[in-house]
């Protein structure tokens, strides 16, 4: 037993520290804020959706209220800005194929591991809008925030900031492809997004890659196809999105940001 004690104490103390870091989100060491292991959230999460959160169904029905009254498709060629997290690795080549087919120009900005908080805190979106002057914006954000506790208190301001940065430019926010129950990110986006601007991906079936989270390339292409089919019926500002002949395309330019950038 005595041989094991020092080793056991080391792993016990490590476990306690990692657990504590997951319980107190605000802890930082200098400018470094350790990412949470999610251990505390996993142990204390509610198994059913609580009633004090916004009514998702209402929010979603609001944001898809134009379903009964399809809006005429804007057939003009657009400069499209597509921003978001690593999900864009799968979505962007398919959206690029749509852009090539329909005369749009696509610029993609992938910020790996990004969240609404990181986009909301940074001026990246405003800066890209100023530089590229898009006529249409697609976003795919939220996948890295499925487990954030008290999400509304923590992220509401950032989601609002992103939508405020977008301003009057028509947009579609593609919701995260849930691989587990979220703590409210879908509700939060649905509540804040303008009517007919939020595509809810939760509930769709995906073929996942080896990480169990990201859809495979072909599944991501089908995901983008679903967005394209949804747009003429439900989107408040549908643009020309005819089915492309090629499976994948290349954006005019891809900007990549690493997880540690601010």
């Amino acid at each position: 037993m005595k041989n094991y004690l020092p080793f056991w104490l080391i792993i016990f103390v490590s476990f306690v520290i990692i657990f504590a870091l997951s319980a107190f989100d605000g802890i930082s060491i200098g400018s470094y804020k350790p990412k949470s292991s999610g251990m505390y959230d996993n142990l204390t999460r509610q198994r059913s959706i609580s009633d004090d959160m916004p009514d998702e169904e209402k929010a979603i029905s609001d944001s898809t209220a134009v379903a009964q009254q399809p809006v005429p498709v804007d057939t003009a060629s657009k400069v499209i800005l597509f921003i978001g997290d690593s999900m864009l690795d799968g979505l962007s080549p398919r959206l690029a194929a749509y852009a090539e087919q329909n005369g749009h120009t696509l610029y993609t900005v992938i910020w790996y591991s990004s969240t609404s908080e990181r986009w909301g805190k940074s001026d990246k979106l405003a800066s890209y809008i100023k530089r590229i002057k898009p006529g249409y914006i697609f976003l795919c954000l939220g996948a890295n925030e499925l487990s954030v506790k008290d999400i509304i208190a923590k992220r509401d301001a950032y989601v609002k900031k992103i939508i405020s940065d977008i301003g009057d430019i028509p947009y579609v926010w593609i919701g995260p492809p849930n691989w587990k129950e979220d703590t409210g990110i879908n509700r939060l986006i649905a509540t804040n997004a303008a009517t007919g601007c939020y595509f809810k991906s939760d509930g769709m079936t995906f073929e996942r890659g080896k990480d169990g989270a990201h859809p495979t390339r072909s599944s991501a292409a089908e995901w983008m196809d679903s967005v394209a089919r949804w747009m003429p019926l439900h989107c408040s500002h549908p643009i020309k999105m005819e089915l492309p002949e090629s499976d994948f395309g290349r954006p005019a330019r891809v900007y990549v940001h690493q997880p540690d950038e601010n």
């Binding site: 041989n3 094991y4 490590s14 990692i18 080549p93 990480d211 169990g212 989270a213 990549v256």
Partner: protein
């Protein structure tokens, strides 16, 4: 009360079987359980049978967490083979003993064949007769190939009189369900392992810390490096032909390092865990990418499988005792079996066949090579050629289909341009850093790693704690939302 209820429900959730969440050595659930396991194990170690029962129960639970109800299959296999082995020693007639071996092999290979190869076999039959193939809804039990091979080697060794049959089922179940090696090897041999159970040796503090060191190395290889570089490699392999030649080449080199880090990282963790418990498992990897020919590569890669195939396929086929031509054929057939062991698909058969052919070519060319390649340039050329063959064959191993593999290889060669290097470096900086780290680490001499291990063992506890915490936080920082399974789980 509500929080306690939630805690209870969530802990119960974590501890029950979830088909999408096998228990990995790098997961929080495993470490939480290991925290409980260590003190109980050290207390029960004083009494042999209490220790055996406890470790078997933990091993079976570990397997249940990864494979659910298939734990029953593991129990049945162990009961069946142990009973046959006990029966064999009582039988005087050689023919009757042979029947026991045949029965055991039929059962073991039958179960493995049904779960792993039935759909492959039916699909090929259907393709030959232009039928409408509907795959059977089969789930492959995790690690079945590993424990089946352990079980086969045990029965054959008992038949040949190389090992005494294990006295009790509990000891045999201990051997077969030993959780560090249960789901992805190394393939443990009875003659090496069972005496260690009976010895019931207490691990020294140095052994415990050296095991801890191996676990840390394994976690870095698997959960930090392999899982991170996999994110890019998967993009390349999921959409062959849509990336430039340079990017494709990087993806191929990336996968070559990923599969090494993934599998050798798992082996390091398994060996480390066993050492902490006082058991020695044999080395499974010996810097395989330092090999300068394919024979050397297979002496360094997945050593427990290579030696198993040598002892139970190659040598029974005649080995090198029946002439040169037959030696080549035996090599080829052995590697075909090795390829098929990895999976039920023609791409694995092709991968194995090419390695078999490569081994035969190397054996045939050996007399001439020794005259040509002794200088530094010759050694570099030999290494480069070996690595190119190994990396190119990994493409067939990983790609979804034969045609995808061909597209990837042709793209990497025909469209290769260094002009992509700078934009690639700026877009994939961390990926390149990870690759550089593992390539440099792999190139360092073995003595460096021995010294590093000794330094860790001798270091103060605070250093160990900080190192472990840094590695754990690195895993958390770099991981995707869900943990990537070990590549070798599927075999």
């Amino acid at each position: 009360m509500e929080i306690l209820q939630r805690l209870y429900e969530n802990i119960a959730d974590c501890l029950s079987y979830d088909s999408g969440q096998p228990m990995l050595f790098s997961s929080g659930t495993f470490w939480a359980l290991f925290l409980l396991f260590v003190p109980l194990y050290s207390l029960l170690k004083r009494n042999f049978w209490q220790m055996v029962v406890f470790v078997v129960a933990f091993g079976l639970y570990f397997y249940y967490k990864s494979s659910g109800a298939f734990v029953a299959l593991l129990i049945i296999t162990s009961l069946f083979d142990w009973t046959l082995s006990r029966l064999m020693v009582r039988l005087r007639s050689k023919a009757a003993r042979r029947w026991c071996v045949a029965l055991s092999l039929t059962a073991s290979l039958g179960i493995l064949g049904y779960f792993k190869y039935a759909n492959f076999f039916l699909w090929n039959i259907s393709a030959m007769v232009n039928g409408n193939f509907q795959p059977l809804e089969l789930i492959l039990p995790v690690g079945i190939s590993f424990y089946t091979f352990q079980s086969i080697s045990y029965i054959i060794d008992v038949y040949k009189g190389k090992v005494e049959p294990v006295r009790t089922w509990l000891e045999y179940a201990f051997f077969l369900s030993f959780f560090p090696a249960l789901v992805a090897g190394p393939i443990v041999r009875c003659d090496y392992f069972v005496p260690q159970i009976r010895e019931n040796r207490h691990a020294s503090r140095n052994e415990i810390y050296y095991g801890f060191w191996l676990i840390i190395l394994g976690v870095i290889k698997k959960a930090v490096i392999a899982d991170y570089i996999a994110q890019y490699n998967d993009l390349i392999f999921d959409a062959p032909g849509t990336y430039s030649g340079f990017e494709t080449m990087m993806g191929i080199i990336g996968y070559t390092m990923q599969i090494y880090c993934d599998f050798s990282g798992y082996s390091d963790m398994a060996i480390g865990l066993a050492l902490i418990m006082g058991f020695r498992l044999s080395k499974n990897f010996d810097f395989p990418y330092k090999a300068r020919n394919l024979s050397d590569f297979w002496r360094r890669w997945h050593i427990s499988l290579s030696t198993w195939l040598r002892d139970y396929v190659y040598i029974p086929l005649g080995g090198n005792r029946k002439g040169t031509a037959r030696t080549y054929v035996n090599n080829f057939v052995t590697m075909l079996v090795g390829g098929l062991w990895h999976g039920a698909a023609w791409k694995f058969v092709f991968w194995g066949a090419m390695h078999g052919a490569g081994l035969a070519v190397h054996k045939a060319a050996s007399p001439y090579l020794s005259r040509v390649g002794t200088g530094r340039a010759g050694r570099w050329f030999a290494w480069l050629l070996t690595m190119s063959v190994v990396a190119a064959l990994w493409v067939f191993f990983r790609a979804d289909s034969w045609s995808d593999a061909c597209v990837l290889l042709s793209r990497a060669v025909s469209d290769f341009s260094l002009s992509y290097a700078l934009p690639f470096a700026s877009a994939r900086t961390l990926w390149l850093i990870m690759m550089a780290v593992i390539i440099i680490a792999h190139a360092l001499p073995t003595s460096f790693w021995d010294r590093a291990g000794q330094w860790f063992v001798a270091s103060p506890w605070i250093v160990k704690l900080i190192l472990f915490l840094v590695v754990a936080q690195l895993v958390i920082e770099l991981r995707g939302e869900d943990v990537t399974p070990f590549i070798y789980f599927q075999f």
